[in-house]
């Protein structure tokens, strides 16, 4: 296990270097000297422009700039905004809680609903329920998340209010003016965005659980368990389920990076003040350095998420380690 772990960790090193290189290259392609038009500004004397560049370290060779930047990232410094000079990392940590609140809820809903749905489909293979679930997941995979969000707002916020029914808020994490201390208020705000976000997960994971469950149910040990006269309930929930959800864990693990990026469109639709909305707002202002800082942060998280999923998988399924 230790050997496997070491090998996996080592394998991520080139990926990390590559990802940072790509973003660094993009940063230079885009921001160039960080300050577009610095050399063209008529109000600046050339030597002043040089002084600014020297102050920002832009006169040093590229590899020194890259290493400095990398060292900064290692210390949690993702650079500064090109617009207002604020620290990108402080923005990230400002917005991270809201994003995590949304995505973790969505993933939990996804897991808690998709596994029972997948089992139901597998156990009643070919039945009406199975077909309905299949149709639902095919539809869920094809519906644009932002549009689903708009339609749910239209129904549950706009129309319900018009009909005088209790309606759900159409955006934000809490009622404006409150300080977010009321958990019920936060929960009510969470309902619509979390539903939309979990919809995609639901359609993928329930299909996956179904096929994984079908495969496991055809295994010899399940037949043995049945032959022993074990109750169907025990066979399904004790023997089959345990092995059927192992591959699902990898799949969920692969969604870990989307903890940060997955909700971008949903965050924009529901004006949810998370990382995705932050990136979007900054992108509209062409604040390249902030966008790149967030992208680097997210990319590193992806690498970490993949690693975690692999390790988790290897812990649960010993066969993996010996391949």
């Amino acid at each position: 296990m230790v050997k496997y772990l070491a090998r996996r960790v080592l394998a991520t090193v080139p990926v990390v270097i590559g990802v940072t290189l790509i973003t660094f290259a993009l940063m230079h392609a885009t921001a160039g000297s960080y300050i577009p038009g610095l050399d063209l500004n008529p109000n600046l004397k050339p030597e002043d422009a040089e002084a600014i560049k020297r102050y920002l370290g832009l006169d040093r060779p590229l590899y020194v700039q890259y290493l400095t930047w990398l060292a900064g990232i290692a210390h949690g410094d993702f650079g500064r905004s090109m617009i207002d000079g604020s620290l990108v990392s402080s923005h990230i940590f400002d917005r991270l809680p809201a994003t995590l609140e949304l995505t973790i809820t969505a993933i939990l809903i996804g897991v808690l609903i998709s596994i029972p749905l997948g089992i139901a489909g597998a156990l009643r293979r070919g039945s009406k329920i199975d077909h309905a679930l299949t149709a639902l997941s095919v539809a869920g995979f094809a519906v644009p998340a932002f549009w689903l969000g708009l339609v749910l707002i239209l129904i549950f916020s706009v129309q319900f209010e018009a009909w005088g029914l209790p309606f759900l808020p159409s955006g934000g994490v809490m009622t404006p003016g409150t300080n977010g201390g009321d958990p019920l208020d936060r929960l009510v705000h969470l309902v619509l965005p979390a539903t939309v976000l979990s919809f995609v997960y639901l359609s993928i994971w329930s299909r996956f659980t179904r096929s994984s469950m079908l495969e496991v149910l055809s295994q010899d040990y399940v037949r043995t368990a049945r032959a022993k006269g074990m109750s169907e309930r025990r066979v399904v929930y004790l023997h089959a389920l345990r092995n059927a959800v192992i591959p699902l864990i990898t799949l969920v693990g692969l969604e870990l990076p989307s903890l940060v990026s997955g909700g971008l469109v949903v965050e924009v639709v529901f004006s949810w003040p998370g990382i995705g909305k932050l990136l979007y707002e900054r992108a509209l202002q062409t604040d390249y350095t902030t966008v790149l800082g967030i992208t680097t942060f997210a990319a590193l998280l992806v690498v970490a998420g993949n690693l975690l999923a692999d390790v988790l998988y290897a812990t649960l399924d010993p066969r993996i380690r010996y391949e």
Binding site: P14, V15, G18, V19, I22, T23, L26, A29, T30, V138, A139, F141, A142, V143, P144, A145, F146, W147, L150, V151, I153, L154, V158, A162, P257, S258, V260, S261, L264, V265, V268, V269, G276, L279, Y280, A283, L284, T286, Y288, V291, L292, I294, T295, A298, A299, V302, V303, N306
Partner: protein
Amino acid sequence: MISPLPIEAPVPPSTAIVARTSRGYWREAGGRLRRNRIGIVSGGVLLFFVVVALAAPLLAALITHTDYRSIDLINTFARPLTPSHILGTDELGRDELTRLLFGAQVSMGIGFLAVVVALTIGACVGLVAGFYGGLIDGLLMRFVDMILATPAIFLFILMSILFKPNTITLSLIIASVGWGSIARLVRGEVLSVRTRDFMVAARAFGASDARLIFRHLLPNVLHVMIVFGSLYLGQVVLIEAALDFLGLGISPPTPSWGNMLTNSETYFFHSSWLVIWPGVTIFLTVLAANLFGNAVRDAFDPRLR
């Protein structure tokens, strides 16, 4: 592939085997696809949208009698089913149906272009990486890892603010991330194909690397590409619509299903159809593309069923 038969007991070729060899793999897959009713219907829907996209100017002239740009400030927010506006009008009095017709050009154009570009780049990288192996393989696949490790939506947004995309650049932006997955798939398939006997034989005949790759490997990985391509189309349409919706893709006055939804949020209270139509068309297109992709997969790769 011919399975080795024991020499002692030669088996006379049964009719079943003769029938199999006389019908090629492609013909058989085509037959399976034609027998798949859902596949045919969804393929038809997809074809319908392609025809609509190609004939949009004609249809606009003949059916809706208006242009996607023509503003009619007297008839803003006309309800659907009003005489000259079957699906109603938007905030500037532009005909919704006409804009949907022209929006199909954006979705279908970018969809197919991005799929073709991603397939071409991905297949080349996958073929080369799988064929040569070793250092080249390692380098190329690590590069793919890096591309796929960066959250795609962030990369799209980043490139969108850099290049201010039009139809072609937006396809390239989307394809610049999508090729990674197909490269991986093709490489995996190449690894299993390249050790087969016919490859060894072709090499023994002195075939060049290029000939080996394009004449012998490519036809054997083509089915992976077709399956991926048809499933990828729906994803591209979804991504493209989302970028347009965010105002980072195709921007007005060119209508696209995504950017038609951008403003609709503002007019929720009185004009909900502006939200409904573009979303339904996106949904139908992606649904058809996905179902067709599934049918293609079942036809070309029955093992995966």
